[in-house]
Every structure is written in C-alpha cells, then in structure tokens.
C-alpha cells in the first residue's frame, strides 16, 4: 500500500515584487520545507493509499480529500470533531505535535483537491492545500491507448499533463496569523493571485528552484503542435477565477473528477474561458494546431522592421522575432529574449484582469504561458 507522509508546517513564500509572506503548508518530510501547494499526490483507482499527517503547527489540522468516500482515520470512519459541543474540524485531525493516519481507496479516476478541514476559513487561505491525481485502473503511460485521464475508450488520451492550482493571498491575513493577532475573514482582500503557489512571472520558471524553496512547482505548459495537452485545473482559493488560455480553446472532458459522459453521450465541450470555482476541478485537453505558415509558405502580411515596433517594452520578451515556429528572428538590440528554439508562447491567465497583477502592478499574479515547441523531449509534462 503506498504510504505518503505530509507534515503541516510553516514557512515564508516569496512574491516577485520582493515580499516575503508567512504561510502554512504541507511538507513531504520532517526536515523538508513547507510547500505551496502541498506535494502532489498521485494515486491509482482501486488502490488503497495511506496518508499520515504529522502536525507541527500550534492548532489542530485535518485533511479533506474531495471526491473520496469511505475514508478511515486511524482505523475508524472519519467524523467531524467537536470540543465542548463546538465544531473544530470537519474530519479527524492531528493535535499540535500529533499525527493522524488516513486510508482510502479512490474509486474513480480524476483530479481532486486535498485541503485542511480544520478552521478551513483560515488554514486553506494560509496554504494548507494540494492537488491529487487519481490514475485510471488501466493506466499505462507506455501505451498510447492507456495513457488517459479516465481510462481506455473514454477519449481522454493525452501526450503531456500539467496541474494548475489557483489561490489568492491577502497579506494582512498572513501577517495577523504570524503575529497571533485576530483577523476578520469578512475583510478578505487579495493582493496576490497564484498559480501553483507562485505569482507571475515566477510561474514561468522551472520546478524546484533553489531560491523558491517553498514554491517548488512551475506553471509553464509545454508541448508540440497537435499534441493533446491535459490541463488539470484546481480551485484552491475561496474565490472563482476565469482562466483563459490564448492560442486555442480547451476541450473540457471532466469536472470534479467526473468524466463528462452519460452512457454513450459525450457531454464534453470546448471553451475559451473556464470559470474555476472554489473547490472545483476541471480536466481539459488543449490541442494547438499550426496554421501551416513556414518560410516556404510565408504569412500573407509583411513583417515590419522590428526596430519600429514595440518588442519587449518590459525589457524582455518571450518572442523569437519570427512569425514561424522553430525560427529565430532579429530581436532589437537591448531586448532580452527568453525564446530558445523559436517556440511559440501563448498567455494563460485569469480574465479578472486585476488578478494578473502583483499588488496592482502588471505583469504578475495568476498568469503563465503555454509554450509550443517545434520539438520537445517526451520527458517534459509528466506528473509524478
């Protein structure tokens, strides 16, 4: 039986505008850093897993596993916890310094959130949440037919997959919790919005950077033309966020870990904006097909002299300087281009546009890019 240890801890997250913000998060080990979001859990349909929660915080912590049933805590069915008749936790918790051991058997595949079930109005906005992916029972990444989100024959094959978890930060709340001061949740006013625990432009950086020890997950979506890129959205904040990828529509194949299908009727749909509600998950396939322009089949417009155009007004650009995939053009002198191989970048962001700022400054917040490379290693876009 797979065993996963999660340690509830505190730490400091960093924002691109130089802020350092106290938070609570889950860690993989006793000595590891608190993580935002918590470590990804990858489980398998029908296979029982055991999750041990160790609590190093000063108040009880529990975990809610959305979409799962028959959860046991220390061998007994999970139950809400009360002290003196007052609700304390939605589920069995670990006392400060204590632990609780959960076991359950995911009965269907999909994307799920796990999050604190104790003082959740505080603990989830403080960072105690993470993403869980349940593989279908017949999952086999080495056989195309069986590398699916929902099982062979469900039309959910994919080439690469990415998790994108939305969340918001009100620094006043984090400061109040750090200082042990009261905080009125009704005054919640976010100044930062995150994807996978980072604000743009940090969202576009790699996983596992030394200088972001508490925020290990990047949000850059990478693939090739025509590939099926599975994007798993999770709404871990307390607000809804309309996520809009440029480049093309996504096909929504599942909501809340449930395949959009009734018997033989396929209920999946294409969208250019998906409103990710608090606590919801959306599984979608993004498939970008090239319009077919190459240096041999040129675009029907004339590319102007780039020195007369706005390129990299921010001092940097993701552009190659060329209209063509895999071709690098002449970026004006003085502009830093992060483009490597002539890949195409398409922004993916919240369309509540104030959320793509860091405390009001664009660019920032809930924004990342989809990068389409002329060719890309199959080792990119694997969730473990």
């Amino acid at each position: 039986m797979p065993v996963i240890d999660l340690w509830a801890k505190d730490g400091y997250l960093s924002t691109p505008d130089g802020n350092s913000i106290y938070f609570w998060g889950f860690s993989k080990s006793e000595t590891g850093p608190a993580q935002l979001p918590g470590p990804h859990i990858v489980a398998r349909q029908g296979e029982t897993i055991n999750i041990n929660l160790y609590n190093t915080l000063t108040e009880p912590v529990s975990i809610s596993f959305s979409g799962q049933s028959g959860i046991m805590a220390d061998g007994q069915p999970v139950q809400p916890q009360y002290t003196d008749g007052k609700l304390l936790s939605f589920f069995n918790h670990a006392e400060p310094g204590g632990m609780v051991s959960y076991t359950f058997t995911p009965s269907f595949p999909g994307t799920f959130i796990y999050e604190s079930g104790t003082n959740p109005h505080k603990q989830v906005p403080m960072g105690l949440y993470g993403g869980m992916v349940v593989r279908p029972a017949d999952y086999n990444p080495d056989a195309r037919e069986f590398k699916t989100a929902y099982g062979a024959g469900t039309d959910t094959e994919y080439d690469r997959e990415y998790l994108l978890i939305t969340w918001e930060i009100d620094p006043d709340m984090h400061q109040a919790v750090e200082e042990g001061k009261p905080y009125q949740v009704s005054k919640f006013l976010p100044r930062y919005w995150t994807l996978n625990g980072r604000c743009a432009p940090d969202t576009m950086l790699m996983d596992g950077l030394d200088y972001l020890p508490h925020q290990p997950y990047g949000s850059m979506i990478m693939g090739q033309p025509g590939e099926k890129i599975l994007m798993r959205y999770i709404g871990a904040g307390i607000e809804n966020h309309p996520l809009h990828p440029h480049g093309t529509h996504t096909r929504v194949v599942a909501v809340d870990g449930r395949l959009l299908r009734n018997e033989n009727v396929d209920l999946s749909f294409k969208r250019f904006t998906v409103l990710v509600g608090a606590g919801q998950t959306y599984d979608q396939i993004y498939q970008w097909d090239d319009l077919g322009y190459t240096t041999q089949n040129p675009i029907p417009t004339i590319l102007p002299n780039l020195r007369n155009m706005g390129v990299g007004d921010a001092g940097w650009t993701m552009w190659s300087g060329s209209p063509y995939l895999g071709v690098k053009g002449d970026i004006p002198v003085g502009v830093v281009s992060y483009n490597e191989f002539g890949e195409y970048y398409f922004m993916l962001h919240s369309h509540e546009e104030l959320q793509i700022t860091n405390w009001g400054e664009f660019p920032g917040g809930m924004m990342t890019m989809v990068a389409i490379y002329p060719s890309l290693s199959p080792a990119v876009g694997i969730l473990e």
């Binding site: 809804n240 969208r271 029907p300 390129v311 700022t357």
Partner: protein, 332 residues
C-alpha cells in the same frame, strides 16, 4: 469568401454617464475609409465600445492597427495591440500579446491577419497592460457569421438550421470604476487591487442611455445602442459578451432563453449531440461569450437587467446601470 480590409486607430476620448459625469477612456476608432492625410482628425475620438468586427466564416481579414496617440495624455507613449480573444490555433504574431510578439508604438501601423473558420461571438481587445487598457475601454465585439447564411439566404448563429434567427442584439458587458479613469487622466497611478466599479455598462452605456438609438448625438463616443426591438413571434439572437472583471448574471423576466452557443462554440456534443439548454438567468464569467435565442413573446416592453441587483444603479444611488429593454411590437 471575401477579403475584409479594416483599420482601427488607437487613441483616447471621453464617455458620459447618465448622472452627467464624464470619464476619460482609451479606445479604438474605425478609420477604415479615412484618407491617410485625415487620420489625425480621429485623435481623441475613441469609441466605447470599440468598432464591431463583423465577418463571415472563411473571410480573409486584414486588420491594421494604427496608434494615433493620446492627445489628452501626450506624455504617455503606451503601445497597443489587438487581441482576438478566442481565435483558435492562432500564431503569436497576430495574437496581440506584447510579451509574446509585437505591440504598436505611437505613429506606427501593424496589420493582423485572420481567417476565421469557426462562427460565433468573440471579443477583441488591447492586450498591453491589459488590466489598465481593458478597463480604460479598449474592448469591442467580433462576430463570425456561418457560411450557411450565404447558402440559404437566412440568418443563423452557427452552421445549423436550429440556430436560425430573425434579429440580433448585442449585450456587451463592462464595468467602470471612475477612480482609475480619473487618475490616468491626471497622470497618477491606481492600485488595481482596489478595483471597485460604480458604473455598470451594456454596450458602453448605462441605462437609461442604453435604450437611446445608435449614434445618438448626445453620446458621440458611445455609438452602440443596447435596445432590442422585434415583432411578436420573431426569433431573436442575443450575443452576450463579458469583458468586465467580474461575473454577471442577466435575466429578462417573462422571456425564456435558449443557450445555443458558448465561447464561440455551438452547444453540440463531440458527436453532434444537442446539448443546448434553457435558462432564465444567464451567468457569464469575465472573458466568456454566450449566444442565446428567444422567441419574442406578446407585444410589450421586457426589461433585461442584472440579477446582481446592486449593478442596476448609477454611482450606487440612482436606478439605472446594467439595464436595457426588449421592445416587442405586434405582428405587422
């Protein structure tokens, strides 16, 4: 298939609200047929909404953006772009994201090319510092008409006879927070996390202005009417667009609404199943579009308004805001 050649100028201007207040905007103005030596007469004449881009499936569209500058803020040399929101399989060159390709400096032109293959309702907007340039007003509608219309000589939302209609209306939703408009006009910064709109607009106007005719002389920079008129029994297509920063919910009591399209996709399943549905209230998130058909009921006036009732106001006090009317006349 036709070749469509259009030219939009990016500039600034002013809009007015029913309470007599004026608000500084950024926006676009249609200069497609203006001779080159006269385009500068259009500086300061941005419209809210930006011009409609109305094309057919398969058309080849050449849309030139000319940055005319801001005569009210000559110090501000912002570049601009046009982003066709929802265009499938776009390439970055024509996607209008400054961080991923080109933006257009003052005095320069750039031509975007599109060959839309999927009918439906889309949005165009500037993507330079989008929180500011969208709120300031650089937003407009895009409709792509299906080729079935040309084949049958009738009107359809999509390539499906079940989406036939007689008349269409645009319900294009935005909000206006007067503080950033005022601050931008006065060369000051706004903290966007404090965004809190006070005016609620359909087609760039607040009720009762929404029901005034198109191109009303009292609002030269707000040319779009939101009044919908039909004869009893006619099918009416409403194209809902939300390019505000909040979710909205619209209703027309007494008029059941059939949602036939979302985000420029007909509500058909993967294998053609009919997954359209009925609603009394249209919930629409920021950045979404919806195509809705209703049959005009008995003659009368049917108000369309926001069920977030706080948004049916002007500056938080008077009745107005995100309200318009469907006026149904008896069959001729």
């Amino acid at each position: 298939m036709a070749t469509v050649i259009k030219r939009f100028g990016a500039t600034d201007g002013w809009v007015s609200m029913p309470d007599g207040t004026d608000h500084y905007i950024f926006g676009f103005v249609d200069i497609s047929v203006v001779p080159e030596n006269q385009i500068f007469q259009y500086r300061g004449k941005a419209t809210l909404l930006a011009p409609l881009l109305d094309v057919y499936e398969g058309d080849e569209v050449y849309l030139t953006l000319t940055n005319l500058g801001f005569p009210n803020r000559p110090d501000l040399d912002d570049t601009h772009t046009i982003h066709w929101h929802g265009f499938p399989n776009q390439i970055p060159l024509w996607d209008g994201v400054p961080e991923a390709s080109i933006s257009v400096p003052v005095g320069r032109d750039f031509t975007y090319y599109y060959q839309p293959l999927d009918p439906g309702t889309y949005i165009h907007h500037c993507h330079f510092e989008p929180v500011e340039h969208i709120q300031m007003g650089m937003v407009g509608p895009v409709t792509v008409r299906p080729k079935l219309e040309k084949e049958l000589g009738l009107k359809f939302a999509y390539n499906d006879e079940n989406t036939a209609y007689d008349r269409e209306g645009l319900i294009f939703l935005t909000e206006l927070d007067p503080r950033p408009h005022h601050l931008v006009a006065n060369v000051q910064e706004f903290d966007w996390t404090e965004y809190s709109p006070e005016y609620w607009l359909i087609n760039g106007r607040s009720y009762p202005d929404t029901v005034k005719p198109a191109n009303d002389q009292s609002m030269p920079q707000q040319p779009f009417s939101a009044l919908v008129e039909a004869y009893q029994g006619e099918k009416v297509l409403l194209r809902f667009v939300n390019i505000g920063f909040q979710q909205h919910c619209l209703q027309i009591p007494g008029v059941p609404l059939k949602v036939v399209g979302l985000d420029a996709q007909q509500l058909r399943g993967y294998n053609g199943e009919d997954i359209s549905y009925w609603r009394d209230v249209i919930y629409i998130a920021a950045g979404q579009t919806m195509d809705v058909i209703f049959t005009a009921p008995r003659a009368g006036i049917y108000p369309l308004y926001n069920r977030n009732l706080n948004k049916n106001t002007i500056a938080g006090t008077e009745f107005g805001g995100m309200v318009t009317e469907i006026r149904v006349s008896p069959k001729p």
